[in-house]
Subunit: 444 residues, 2 copies
């Protein structure tokens, strides 16, 4: 698609190119613009009708947005900014370098500038920073017909009109009424009588993930955001909530793999940035793996007495690490979905121990049979390896389940307690168990 | 909260208990019912107004739903079923044992039964299985006023009325019009003139994750679902799409930790079920870790010549495994968010190699210093360990980035290529590299 549009532009068949793009959904047109040669983007962008152009702009990646802004005349910049919804404008500005931000703020009207600055001041990852301040507000004394008049008069520039917010003279939220309620009510009904007064809301400083989870819990299309005095200041819409939930899942996954999370997609992150996200964790984990070297070193005489024991070190470590990951990752995900709480610790531990005994037992029997038939080691060695395996799985599950809960309790991010850390701890424990069980059973 | 309601019920203060619950949001009331003693649930449920009762029912966990159904009289069951939205009814039925399903289907009217059976027949995890068939359909020839009349007449029982679907006489989807468009248009405007004809839709057999991603990509409130003849059969609403995205993220995370995914929350999964989800992967991974034993066994003479080499096996294996996870998990998540494609393989490999050289280099220098100053090994041994470290990180990143892409290309689920499998492969490669580099540099 991108190639054929580029062809048309090169052949100066502008109206044909424009016609093709105009047919597209704005989200798809933004993807297309992202794939075009940088020089062709402004040409095509200028061919689009104003309203579609700014909608497409809102969907574009921030790098492509920056390129476009650099190419814009001041008048063009002003026009696009005027058409953007405030939350999209703020999202965009947050990603721009300082000089571009200055230029943008110079070319919006004073009111918009004040509002942008206000939203920009909310802490990162707070409800305030992702909300839009464009919502439909009604008064409790209005009739349904008056409400519809207000929606018709102000609705064009609102991102969502389907949930309307009823506020008093101090801008305090009194109630919520949906367009569905309004449509199904008689025209002369008073809003006060049909509005929902049991209101769920978040504060500007509420974490964005909590906001998105609440919206999803209540199946809302938008979540109202209030300030410290409980005055309505904005709403978080469902499309932004979905993005937050997706971002947070990616962040959790990255942290579980011991990568510092980033907001940028993989292909947009440079080599140095990627290195910086990964190397600190690798270094920390490498240094902590040093304990394992020390442990092996201190049992050198035992190893020398039975060299064959070395062969099973990796298998024991891997199995311990895998069991530990299974427990820790299950617990971490359940914590982040709000399925378990600290009070559940005893039940969780009991369950993990039961599962560990079953898993460890199965593995020990499997390993014993394999050691005797395939590796053809002596019965005592096979016993040492199998018994260690069962104990390691038990320890791994307990460590894997406890550490994330403990981290959460102490106010840390439980995700950091995922497989790499658990593996490092379990490895050290596994080695010590292995050598001590060997000493006991083999008498070395 | 649950305790105080239980108290009220025990003291037979029914109206006070009911009043408290009636004030709650239905989603919260469902959580509360889930926390009550099983015997108290039907009592409280019967105290709720019919409409709220069925809304609360839809939000409840399937176990609690089953308990309630067992307690229902036939009339009560019929009433609740009548009030439920079809997609909630189907969700509920899918989790019930066969005898309960039979009883439910006996107590709904014939039309509903036909519709439920139809939706139940769509493949699991398809758009058809999560859609609702209750949507507002309009005709292209209607005026805006007629459209509003139709919405008012049929809207009460529709889950969402904000996106209306314009169909022709064969039920083929001709266009889409939102209530916002309708509100902002003159009353005598014809729908044909204001409807959007560039329609995005999915088929009943489209994967639910793809459906949810498309809905999120286009910021839709509902995604239309058509059959093989492109006739409109239902819609997937945004709240269900959010649930799908959350479930799929959990599934990906579980698979990355080598756990067979399940639909149930952790606390609801029994010990045996958990064991069955975890042990096959542990066994497979344990058996594949056998290669490492074989490798160590075959280099026994080299190890005997330089026993100190054993000490660094765990550190090398762990670091390789950690680097491999970092690459593989980044790639897997990017694949599932649709950020990268198979055509990007050369660029990805180039980037992963560059990052690996930087990370590996940093780690090698760090390890060399530590080996000389703290472990006080000889320079050749320190060199062997550091060089191996750098090469292992390179191999780990290449393996970690390639395998998920390859799995995807071959039609497998790339998530299975996450850390545990990568670790097993990288471990084997790391050991072979280590011993060969040792042979080369130490001349053993």
């Amino acid at each position: 698609m991108a190639e054929s549009i580029e062809m048309l532009l090169e052949e100066k068949k502008y109206s044909e190119a424009a016609a093709r793009v105009k047919e597209m959904n704005p989200a798809d047109a933004a993807v297309l613009l992202g794939e075009l040669e940088a020089t062709k983007v402004p040409i095509l962008f200028r061919l689009l009708p104003k309203e579609m152009a700014s909608e497409v702009f809102a969907y574009m990646e921030s790098e492509a947005q920056e390129t476009l802004i650099q190419a814009f005349s001041d008048r063009e910049l002003g026009e696009v900014m005027e058409q953007l919804y405030l939350d999209d404008a703020v999202d965009m500005i947050e990603e721009m370098p300082a000089n571009v931000v200055k230029r943008i703020l110079r070319h919006v009207d004073a009111d918009t500038r004040t509002m942008i600055n206000q939203v920009l001041n909310y802490p990162e990852d707070s409800a305030g920073s992702i909300m839009t301040i464009e919502y439909v507000d009604l008064k409790a004394g209005m009739t349904v017909e008056q409400a519809f008049e207000r929606i018709r008069a102000t609705g064009v520039e609102k991102e969502t009109i389907y949930t309307c917010y009823v506020t008093d003279s101090q801008r305090k939220l009194e109630g919520i009424v949906t367009v569905k309620d309004l449509l199904l009510a008689p025209k002369d009904e008073i809003i006060r009588n049909i509005m929902e007064t049991n209101i769920k809301f978040v504060y500007t400083y509420t974490d964005q993930e909590e906001t998105a989870s609440m919206l999803s819990h209540y199946d809302f299309l938008a979540m109202p955001v209030v300030d410290a005095e409980e005055r309505l200041v904005g709403i978080v819409t469902v499309d932004d909530a979905i993005d937050v939930l997706q971002e947070e899942a990616t962040e959790d996954i990255e942290k579980m793999a011991a990568i510092s999370p980033s907001d940028k997609p993989y292909m947009k992150t440079g080599v140095f940035a990627t290195w910086k996200k990964r190397v600190p964790w690798l270094l920390i984990l490498m240094v902590s793996a040093t304990f394992t070297s020390a442990i092996i070193g201190s049992y050198e005489s035992a190893l020398a007495a039975s060299v064959v024991l070395t062969n099973f070190i990796p298998m024991l470590m891997d199995t311990g690490g895998n069991s530990g990951s299974q427990s820790s990752i299950t617990i971490i995900r359940s914590l982040s979905l709000g399925e378990i709480r600290f009070a559940d610790v005893p039940r969780i531990l009991l369950k993990e121990c039961a599962v560990a005994l079953l898993c460890g037992g199965t593995l020990a029997v499997g390993a014993f049979i394999k050691l005797m038939l395939i590796d053809r080691v002596t019965i005592p060695v096979a016993l040492v390896v199998s018994v260690t395996l069962a104990v390691v799985v038990l320890v791994a599950n307990i460590v894997g389940a406890t550490l994330p809960m403990l981290a959460k309790r102490l106010g840390f991010d439980p995700t950091v307690m995922a497989s790499p850390f658990i593996t490092t701890i379990v490895d050290a424990v596994a080695l010590m168990l292995y050598f001590n069980i060997a000493k006991l059973l083999l008498g070395i």
